[in-house]
């Protein structure tokens, strides 16, 4: 018997004990009716061939292991960045459980959202009654300052009209007429979570700005976009802006909501942009989107008020941070302070110290469009070479922009851009044209396992490592952290490769 109270074995060691190995072997041979081992190996090898790659890339309908989620997730994330705001997702109930658990698994934090819980009768008659009761219950139970309504695909398919429903619900006394219920249609069968973010941001801003005129002032609006590292990043950006002495409003900031303390009190809501701040953001000097592909409709709407706007691609890395700071400086007239120049210099110093280890490393990078852009750019700044850049939710515009970026550096020459492809495509690409490292999220661990290419987790979702999102990746400090993530992996791999005593450990160097 392998188990004992003294040393309790859980699944990892337990099932490798001889009793269980024998049992599993027996199950396989007698009952499973599987394919012969040789056949399985033959197919396994074939899945890594050029022939398979061509067939795989020819796929038109099936999607396997995509690196994207659906719109309402982005809407729920966006709403979580406003003060005391409850997400209300109109449609089937299961969807809301999905968004909540998905965000909780990444942040290791509570995530609240409610559903109008539509079932068969709503499918036939529409979900108006669910909306009426749902809004009333939400307000009564959870006391939110506002309720942000988005939709699941059920509500979209049957054509529920949120604007009309919310008006009717208010008419029936569900919630007071002057109570804030911004909304966004977020069909899951259009775009991805980044579009859901965009639609909800536009919905909230429109709710408070519509019909008003802007009087440009001095403040900047910062719209961060869908960022699983918002906890570390938003706080870092605020520190930078404070150092510059800039007045600013984060339009959407989930950093406190997804990082509440453990002190005995459960906070359903924490931090976030207040309603007053959203209202006064209309009179800002300019609005900056930190993620271009998360905000096209939002920025277009803001431009309609005559506000100056600028968009970035996830300001991570040296020049991406430089550009953000210079833009902020240009818009506000505030100089970039010496303290930030020092930080920049320390980052460059670190990069110079480590450049020999970074130069020429080849990377496959996947994730949301703006992240991939930033990551590829930073990798090239370190002398690394992106080989494959993939965004399942990447558009043709993104593809073109990526190609321009890659063409701007000798380190981008060998890189291919894959818009709309999934991680099963990436498996084929890496099996035939391998990289030294994969940069992505937790889902990349399956690629790491199959292809033996080390994974560096740097973007949402990270389920199987803890607390990475609590540290910034943006700005010079963030870049330093990303740099250390890359270096640690590079050097761990070197150690793993040279640690066999008497065989390879001549290279097991103490100092590098």
């Amino acid at each position: 018997m392998p188990q004992s109270a003294e040393k309790v074995l859980d699944h990892r060691p337990l099932f490798r004990q001889p009793e269980y190995q024998e049992m599993l072997k027996n199950k396989k041979e007698k009952y499973e009716g599987g394919h012969p081992d040789a056949k399985v190996q033959e197919i396994a090898d074939w899945t890594k061939s050029w022939d398979y790659r061509e067939k795989n890339l020819a796929r038109e309908s099936l999607c396997v292991n995509p690196a994207k989620a659906c719109q309402p997730l982005g809407a729920v994330f966006a709403a979580a960045g406003f003060e005391r705001t409850m997400s209300f997702v109109h449609g089937s109930q299961g969807c809301v459980a999905y968004y909540r658990s998905h965000l909780s698994r990444h942040f290791k934090e509570p995530c609240s959202a409610v559903s109008s819980s539509m079932t068969e009768d709503a499918a036939v008659f529409g979900g108006l009654n669910n909306m009426i009761d749902g809004l009333a219950n939400t307000k009564a139970l959870y006391d939110p300052a506002m309720i942000a309504v988005s939709t699941t695909c059920m509500a979209e398919v049957i054509g529920d009209d949120l604007h009309s429903f919310i008006e009717q619900a208010k008419g029936k006394g569900s919630v007071p007429q002057d109570y804030d219920v911004p909304f966004a249609h977020t069909p899951a069968f259009v775009g991805s979570h980044v579009n859901g973010y965009d639609n909800m941001m536009k919905g909230i801003i429109e709710h408070f700005w519509k019909g008003k005129t802007a009087t440009p002032g001095t403040k900047l609006n910062i719209i961060p976009g869908f960022d699983g590292y918002c906890v570390g990043n938003n706080r870092e950006l605020k520190r930078i802006l404070d150092l510059m002495g800039v007045e600013y409003t984060f339009l959407q900031d989930a950093s406190d909501n997804f990082d509440t303390p453990s002190d005995g009190e459960y906070r359903m809501y924490d931090g976030g942009t207040s309603i007053d701040e959203v209202k006064s953001a209309l009179d800002a000097k300019a609005s900056l989107s930190l993620q271009h592909y998360c905000t096209p409709k939002t920025m277009e709407y803001i431009e309609g008020f005559g506000q100056t706007t600028a968009s970035f691609h996830y300001p991570m890395g040296v020049r991406a941070t430089d550009e953000l700071l210079m833009k902020v400086s240009e818009l506000t007239g505030k100089e970039v302070p010496e303290a930030l120049r020092m930080e920049r210099g320390r980052l460059i110093d670190a990069m110079a110290d480590s450049q020999s280890w970074l130069h020429g490393q080849k990377y496959a990078i996947y994730g949301d469009p703006d992240f991939v852009y930033a990551m590829a750019r930073f990798v090239m700044e370190t002398g690394g070479e992106p080989i494959h850049c993939l965004a399942t939710n990447g558009t043709k515009d993104w593809e073109a922009q990526m190609k321009t970026l890659l063409a701007s550096s000798p380190f981008g020459k060998g890189c291919q851009v894959w818009a709309g492809k999934d991680l099963w495509h990436l498996r084929s690409l890496l099996a035939t044209e391998p990289a030294d490292f994969i940069i992505g999220n937790s889902y990349g661990k399956y690629l790491e396992r199959d292809l033996k290419i080390p994974l560096i987790r740097l973007t949402f979702p990270v389920f199987d490592r803890h607390h990475h999102h609590r540290f910034p990746t943006m700005g010079y400090q963030g870049a330093l952290r990303v740099l250390v993530m890359l270096l640690d992996k590079i050097m761990d791999v070197m150690d793993d490769d040279t640690n066999e005593p008497g065989v390879s450990d001549y290279s097991f160097d103490l100092t590098r």
């Binding site: 199950k27 396994a44 998905h102 068969e120």
Partner: protein, 403 residues
Amino acid sequence: MHISHGPVGCGQYSWSQRRNYYIGKTGVDSFVTMQFTSDFQEKDIVFGGDKKLEKIIDEINVLFPLANGITVQSECPIGLIGDDIEAVSRKKNKETGKTIVPVRCEGFRGVSQSLGHHIANDSIRDWVFEKKQSDYEAGPYDVNVIGDYNIGGDAWSSRILLEEMGLNVVGNWSGDATLAEIERAPKAKLNLIHCYRSMNYICRHMEEKYGMPWEEYNFFGPTQIAAALRKIAAHFDDKIKEGAERVIAKYQPLVDEIIAKYKPRLEGKTVMLYVGGLRPRHVVNAYEDLGMIITGTGYEFGHGDDYQRTGHYVKGGTLIYDDVTGYELEKFIEKKRPDLVGSGIKEKYPVQKMGIPFRQMHSWDYSGPYHGYDGFAIFARDMDLAINNPVWDMFDAPWKKAA
């Protein structure tokens, strides 16, 4: 291979989250921890997705030739736009000879996931049973384990006991199951059902149609395990009955050791549960074996017969709740202030913020198995480490305490 048929989200959020363990080469001859989706776009909603589904099945046959069968799990839009996934399945089955199972599990059907279980059971009855010739002839000790999803290896730490007592587990539903195991099920001698809620339907069907008996059992904690082994053995001859006694005797020293080690650390601690399926009642005695007290329990999607069965497990005065909202659960927990809460990922962090230790009792909090004697040791260890971690004593800042 299971296709999330509809938009990308449903499959994405559920991808690899249930921890249904299996042995196989993923993407080659096993497909559990992968996400296959038809990734519906607007044009699929407008023009219908049946053509796309046909193409998907063709592409699967090219790229995953060792997949023995496909299920088409429909998401909300499929039912709403009137796609005929049954017709596509029938057609493609004819063309390819592979098992293709349409599952009408749109999220808006019914009040909870419970209807999905029923629909899935029916789909096996209608689309898998009696579709293929099998030369399998049951031996006298051949049983199926039904309703064990092999979370963290639960079905394995159960199987080992059943085999040690002399039974042959010829099929395991549906954790670590192959299509062959599902297909041969109606020919076995006895169905052993663990999660009654999710799979009683197919057991009742096999009873009606094939005269196959079924027995509910509970493999959580030594009291229930011993009772279950004896109850199962009662269906068989003396050889199996002796086998059951031998197994119970073999593991008794382990049980004694575990209880000696952990009971002093856990005795008198109170527990509240809020989970699904069988666990709100099935784990009650496992906690009691460790000297812990269940003060509240409830089901996410229980039916009347679940609550009727719960009465046999819990003591008088236990708070029982059904399909609670986050608000209600929070208030119950605040009022009761248990020493431990067992529920899911959505409840985990709010409860911990309140300073109350927590274990996820769907995923075993990434631990497990919890079934069987080997699982009980892990269960005991995990409850101990949750409750007796030093972090719970540091919630208050010392200067605040003094003030």
